[in-house]
């Protein structure tokens, strides 16, 4: 199993979640975060905004479905045809074990 953590634009959150649900990845946890990327935030003259609001979407899936979920997020999280700076990042980490509290059993 793997955990996919996608940091995306807050205004793309709803459409990404909707498309994830349609693709069969209904379960997700969403946290509002602030951060900056490689561009070091946004500069307007002397003013620098380096705490830009983003949404962090966490989804845990089977490893075989990785390409499918990446395709959905990459397609719906970007602005414009070729994407723009600030569209976000996707991180993937390993998961050793998963437990469902309702049943107390291991597994998704």
């Amino acid at each position: 199993m793997i955990m996919v953590r996608a940091i995306i634009r807050p205004d793309k959150k709803d459409s990404v979640l909707q498309e994830l649900s349609r693709a069969g990845f209904n379960a997700a946890t969403v946290v509002d975060v602030v951060g900056r990327g490689k561009q070091n935030g946004i500069k307007f003259g002397d003013i620098v905004y380096d705490e830009i609001p983003k949404s962090l979407i966490m989804v845990v899936i089977e490893e075989a479905e990785k390409d499918k979920i990446l395709d959905v997020i990459l397609r719906h999280a970007k602005v414009g045809e070729n994407g723009s700076f600030g569209d976000g990042k996707i991180f993937i980490s390993a998961i050793d074990e998963v437990y469902t509290v309702s049943s107390g059993l291991a597994g998704l």
């Binding site: 845990v60 050793d96 509290v101």
Partner: protein
């Protein structure tokens, strides 16, 4: 070293904190999050809970049934609390069982998930200790 990420109900935060301390966890981080789970296909599982929820709503509200169903079958996002706990390998099972014990309800669904991730390193900022000593 393992990282335990537990997503649980908002109203179980107090008991969970207590259980974690009893399980010997020194520190944890808690975040407010919103989330949803697997779509519930078997409606019978949520039938009882739906009746309870509908009893609290205005019976003339045409949207009440739809809202209650979406809330219970996992299509809508609802508030939850995300705990991040760092633990030694041998502590993991104790902590997981403690979390499950206090968070389990009679509602069959929506009690949350616990994820266990491998951790490469941890550093205590104050002393620059690495690895297991930092937890």
């Amino acid at each position: 070293m393992k990282e335990i990420i537990a997503v649980i109900r908002m109203n179980k935060v107090g008991p969970t904190k207590k259980a974690l301390v009893e399980a010997g966890v020194a520190g944890f981080t808690a975040l407010k999050a919103i989330g949803r789970g697997k779509v519930v296909e078997n409606i019978e599982i949520i039938a009882d809970r739906k009746k309870q929820l509908l009893a609290k709503t205005n019976p003339e509200d045409p949207k009440a049934e739809q809202v209650a169903t979406e809330f219970l079958d996992g299509r809508g996002l609802f508030p939850c609390r995300m705990f991040t706990i760092l633990a030694h390998d041998e502590q993991v099972q104790t902590i997981v069982q403690a979390i499950i014990k206090v968070n389990k309800t009679q509602h069959n669904v929506g009690d949350g998930k616990i994820f266990i991730l491998p951790l490469l390193d941890a550093v205590r900022v104050r002393t620059n200790e690495h690895g297991d000593a930092a937890i």
